[in-house]
C-alpha cells in the first residue's frame, strides 16, 4: 500500500514539472515574439495658415461669425430669455418704496431662491375730530337750549348752552368713540366753540378714566371761535380718549358765556405699508413677434401685488395680482425700445395699516421670440462664404448632429453659386439628405447659403453641419462648424 502511494506521488511530480516548464517556455516565447518588429519613420512638419474660405454674415436671420470666419452660428427666428437687469432705475422720478431681500435672485432661476419684496411703512399723519354725542346733564348750572346733546354741532341758536355767573358748571358731555387702537397719538386737544360778551375765561375739566383733571382756562372772545385746551398728556391712550368726557366752568360773573359746540381733536400717525419697486431691462430685443413678461412667484402676501409697465410717460397696469408659479403676460404693445421698465406695487397703498405684506419672486424675465417657420419660410442670404486664397475649391455641407428635428416639417439648406445646390434636406422631422454634393467655389468667389423652413410647433431646433472645403482632385479637406439654430 505504501509503494502504491509513492508511485502516485511520482506521477504528480512529473505532471507539475511539465506544467511549470510549459509556463516558463510560454513566457519566453511571448517575449521573443513581442520584440520582433521594425519601424518606419514618418517625419512631419506643419505651419499655421489662414483658412482659405471666410464665412460672413448674411442679411437674413442672425449670423454670428466666430474668430477667423471659420465657424458660425446661424439663427433663424429668435428665442431669447432675458432676465431683468437692474433695480436702480427711476423712470417716474419717484423713489422706490419697499425693499428687495436679494434682487439677484430675480435674475436667475428657477432655483427656489427668492427675492422677497417687503412693504415699507410710510406712516401717514392724520387728524380725527370726535364730537359730543351725549350730555348726561349731571351739572345743571348752565341753561341748555335745544335738544341733547346740545354741543354736537355748530348750529347756534338751535342747540347750545349758556350761563351768566361765576363758577357755574355744565356737563358732563361725552364724545364719539374714535374706533382706533393701534395708531400713534401725537396730540389731543379739547376744542370749545364759544363766545363771551365780556371776553372772560372758561375752564374745562376732562375725565381721564379715573379723575377729573382741569385743562386750565381760555379766554373766550366776544365772537364765535374755537378755543383749544391741550389734553395730550392726560388723554394719552385711545382708551382714555374713548372714555373721555368734559364739563365746563364759567370763570367770571361778568357777561354771558355761550358754547355752541365741543369736540376732541386727535392728531395721530397711521402706519401705512407701501410697495413701489422699479426693475428694468436695458438691452432688450424688442422686435420679436412674441414678447412676454414672465414672473415666477413663490409665497405671496395676502395683499394683491400689481405689476405696471412704463409706457414712456406713465404706468400701465398689466397684472392686477401675481400668483405662485408663472405669471405671463404679453407686453408687445409696450416693448418698443431697448429699455423696458416695470414696477411692483402694492394694491392697497393708502391707509394700509393692517399687515406689512411680503411677496417672493424667484425669477423675472422677458421671453421674446419669433418663429422661423411662421412667415414665408424663405431666408435668403443667411450666410456668405468668400474664397480668400485665390484658389479653386470644392465645398459642401454635411450635417453631423442635430436636436429637436421632429418639429421641422421642412428645413432645406442650399448653397447658391449661380444655381441652387441642395445640400441638406429635412422633411417631416427626418433627414432626406444629410450630405450635399461637392460644388465649385472658385478663386475669390462669394457664394451664399439660403434656407427654407417650415415648422410644426414652437421650440428650437439645431442642425450641426460641417462646411467641408476640399482641394480639387485631392482628398485633403478642411471642416468648418456651422450651427443652424431654428426657432
Amino acid at each position: 500500500m505504501i509503494k502504491y502511494r509513492r508511485e502516485f506521488r511520482r506521477i504528480y511530480r512529473s505532471i507539475w514539472g511539465a506544467l511549470a516548464l510549459l509556463i516558463l517556455l510560454g513566457f519566453l516565447l511571448q517575449n521573443v515574439a513581442g520584440s520582433v518588429y521594425y519601424s518606419l519613420l514618418m517625419e512631419s512638419s506643419m505651419a499655421v495658415s489662414s483658412a482659405p474660405v471666410e464665412l460672413q454674415a448674411g442679411t437674413a436671420g442672425t449670423s454670428t461669425i466666430y474668430t477667423n470666419g471659420t465657424s458660425a452660428l446661424v439663427s433663424l427666428g429668435n428665442d431669447v430669455i432675458d432676465y431683468v437687469d437692474n433695480n436702480t432705475s427711476d423712470v417716474d422720478n419717484s423713489t422706490d418704496v419697499g425693499t428687495h431681500s436679494n434682487f439677484t435672485a430675480q435674475q436667475y432661476g428657477l432655483d427656489s431662491i427668492n427675492d422677497t419684496l417687503t412693504e415699507e411703512n410710510n406712516p401717514a399723519n392724520d387728524t380725527i375730530w370726535l364730537y359730543i354725542n351725549a350730555d348726561d346733564e349731571t351739572r345743571t348750572d348752565w341753561t341748555r337750549v335745544g335738544t341733547n346733546p346740545y354741543l354736537d354741532a355748530i348750529d347756534y341758536p338751535t342747540n347750545f348752552v349758556n350761563a351768566s355767573g361765576n363758577n357755574l358748571q355744565v356737563g358732563d358731555f361725552n364724545f364719539t368713540d374714535s374706533g382706533k387702537s393701534t395708531e400713534t397719538i401725537d396730540s389731543v386737544t379739547v376744542q370749545i366753540y364759544g363766545q363771551q360778551s365780556n371776553s372772560k375765561d372758561l375752564e374745562v375739566f376732562v375725565w381721564n378714566g379715573s379723575a377729573w383733571i382741569s385743562l386750565g382756562v381760555q379766554t373766550l372772545t366776544t365772537s364765535w371761535r374755537w378755543e383749544n385746551y391741550t389734553a395730550t398728556t392726560i388723554l394719552d391712550t385711545w382708551t382714555k380718549i374713548d372714555g373721555a368726557k368734559i364739563y365746563l366752568v364759567s370763570k367770571s360773573a361778568a357777561g354771558t358765556f355761550e358754547v355752541d359746540c365741543a369736540r376732541l381733536q386727535v392728531d395721530y400717525t397711521n402706519p401705512n405699508y407701501e410697495l413701489d419697486l422699479e426693475v428694468q431691462w436695458t438691452t432688450v430685443d424688442y422686435d420679436e413677434s412674441n414678447e412676454f413678461l414672465c414672473i415666477y412667484g413663490g409665497t405671496m402676501g395676502a395683499e394683491n401685488i400689481t405689476v405696471d409697465v412704463w409706457n414712456g410717460t406713465g404706468w400701465e397696469n398689466v397684472r392686477s395680482d401675481l400668483n405662485s408659479g408663472w405669471n405671463n403676460v404679453s407686453v408687445s404693445s409696450y416693448l418698443d425700445s431697448s429699455n423696458f421698465t416695470i414696477r411692483f406695487k402694492g394694491d392697497i397703498e393708502t391707509f394700509d395699516n393692517a399687515t406689512q405684506d411680503t411677496w417672493d419672486i424667484d425669477a423675472t424675465l422677458l421671453h421674446v421670440w419669433t418663429e422661423a417657420g411662421s412667415g414665408s419660410g424663405d431666408f435668403n442670404y443667411v450666410l456668405n462664404m468668400t474664397e480668400k486664397h485665390n484658389s479653386n475649391w470644392k465645398v459642401r455641407l454635411k450635417a453631423y448632429d442635430n436636436s429637436s428635428l421632429s418639429r421641422l416639417d421642412n428645413c432645406s439648406i442650399y448653397i447658391y453659386n449661380g444655381s441652387n445646390s441642395t445640400q441638406i434636406i429635412i422633411l417631416n422631422g427626418a433627414y432626406n439628405q444629410q450630405t450635399g454634393p461637392w460644388i465649385d467655389l472658385n478663386a475669390s468667389d462669394t457664394e451664399y447659403t439660403w434656407m427654407h423652413v417650415e415648422t410644426s410647433s414652437t421650440g428650437t431646433s439645431y442642425v450641426y453641419a460641417y462646411l467641408e472645403i476640399r482641394v480639387p482632385n485631392s482628398t485633403v479637406y478642411a471642416r468648418y462648424i456651422i450651427t443652424f439654430k431654428i426657432t
Binding site: 521573443v32 519613420l41 512631419s44 512638419s45 477667423n68 485631392s474
Partner: protein
Amino acid sequence: MNLKNLPAKKTMKLLALLLTSLLIASVSAFTYYSLTISSTITVYAANVYFIEGTDNNTGPGPVILTLDSTNTTATITGLVAYKNASLTYTNVTLVYNNGGSASQLRLAPYTDPSTNPEDFVYVKFLLNATTAGDRRWLNYTSDGSSWTSPGSATSWTTTGLGASAMWPVVIMTKANATATASQTVDIAITVDVQ
C-alpha cells in the same frame, strides 16, 4: 498482494510518458518558431514600407512627401493647420505590404512636438485600416500652453495589413483661433511593423 502487478500502475506510467512526450513536442515547436522569425529580420529588406499617396504635391501648402531609398522613412513637409478649423490629409502616404503574409502594425511616438503650443490645438495621426478594429490613433494635443503627447505606442493591429494591401496614414491638424501665421511644429512618429 503485490501492487506492482496491478493494471493501474501500468496506466499511470503510460500517462506520465505521454505527458512528457507532449511537453517535449511543445517546447521543440516554440523554439523552432522563434528562431525562424529572427532570421527573417536579419536577412531580408522590409516588406512593409511607405508609398506615395494621391494627396502628395496637392494644396494647400502644397504638401510634399519625400521617401528615402528604401521607403522606410517618409518626410512630409508643407502641412498646414487652419485657425479654428480642422484640416484632414487623407492620402499623403500609405503603408504598403509587399510581403506574402499579413503584418501587424502600430503607431508609436518618436519625436514629440516641443514648439509653439499656443498656436496649435492638435495634430492627429490615424492609421486608417480597412477594418475599423485595426485603426489606430496617435494624438498630440495642446491646451494652449503645452503639448500633450502619447506616452506610448498604440496597441498592435489584430487583423493586420494583408499581403499587397495598403493603408493610408491620415493626418489631421487644427490651429488655435488666435494662432500666429507661419508658426510651425515638427512631429515624428514611427509605424512599427511586426
